[in-house]
């Protein structure tokens, strides 16, 4: 099983990655490009998972080489679970990428990272409502201190695909 960590640059994606993996991580060059990516392994509920820290990207419509590699990695792992790491102070932007991932039929978990920053800036996010609307697990995290990472791991096995058509109708009725 493979877990892909996706998110914008500077959302603390590699901090999440470091929390999830053990010491045995490798950085390698994506063939034919100048882009490097990191991967490691972890055990969740007795099952071994391969975790890939996908290069930071703003959308799945690639604009440069790093974003192209991000898309290639995503498309290569059709049966992967995707953890979309979002900066909690920039939820809208992050959801854009999360939607794109869901639209491609990947089961996903959303990590609302940098939750402490959002609290400090008086940003209130109704996590359970968000979970209810999107029908994917949403977990507030502070990767730097490790807060929420355990819950994030717990939710990974329960990630399922989302029917976009239903989602669209549901949101339109809000």
């Amino acid at each position: 099983m493979t877990i892909l960590l996706m998110g914008h640059p500077n959302v603390g994606k590699s901090a999440v990655f470091n929390r999830l993996t053990g010491a045995n991580i490798t950085e390698s060059n994506y063939p034919g490009t100048t882009v490097d990516f990191t991967e490691g392994h972890t055990f969740i509920a007795g099952k071994e998972y391969r975790i890939i820290d996908v290069p930071g990207t703003f959308s799945t419509e690639p604009k440069d080489e790093a974003e192209r590699v991000a898309l290639d990695i995503l498309e290569e792992h059709e049966d992967a679970v995707v953890i979309v790491v979002i900066d909690s102070t920039k939820v809208e932007r992050g959801l854009y990428l999360a939607f794109e991932v869901l639209e491609r039929g990947y089961p996903a978990v959303i990590a609302l990272n940098m939750w402490d920053d959002a609290e400090r800036q008086n940003i209130n996010i109704d996590v359970s409502r968000l979970e209810e609307i999107l029908e994917v697990p949403v977990v507030p995290t502070v990767a730097i201190s490790g807060k929420g990472i355990y819950r994030l791991v717990e939710k990974i096995p329960s990630a399922t695909q989302v029917d976009i058509k239903d989602l669209k109708e549901k949101i339109s009725e809000l």
């Binding site: 920039k90 809208e92 932007r93 854009y96």
Partner: protein
């Protein structure tokens, strides 16, 4: 008293605020994922001298764009007659 005028993003001054009205098609696709889109409120943070890049804030995200990219964005600027230090 507030008056409004339309200008290119590259022409905005420090601390000015406005609303994005138009983005040229070729740039539009490039910056959609970054949350820079028509209708969003925008603030000019800084502008580097001799046609260097601009730095703008939309919501909580701050982005820097090269001068020629900034020229492709049209903004309706609110000109605030009150003196303001731009930090509010």
């Amino acid at each position: 008293m507030k008056t409004k005028s339309t200008m290119k993003l590259s022409e905005m001054e420090y601390g000015e605020r406005g609303v994005i009205r138009e983005i040229k098609q070729d740039l539009k696709d490039q910056i959609l994922g970054r949350g820079i889109r028509v209708g969003k409120k925008i603030r000019m943070d800084t502008k580097q001298p001799i046609n260097g890049p601009v730095v703008i804030t939309i919501g909580k995200s701050t982005t820097s764009l090269g001068y020629n990219l900034a020229r492709k964005i049209t903004v309706e600027v609110e000109e605030d007659d009150d003196t303001s230090d731009g930090t509010s």
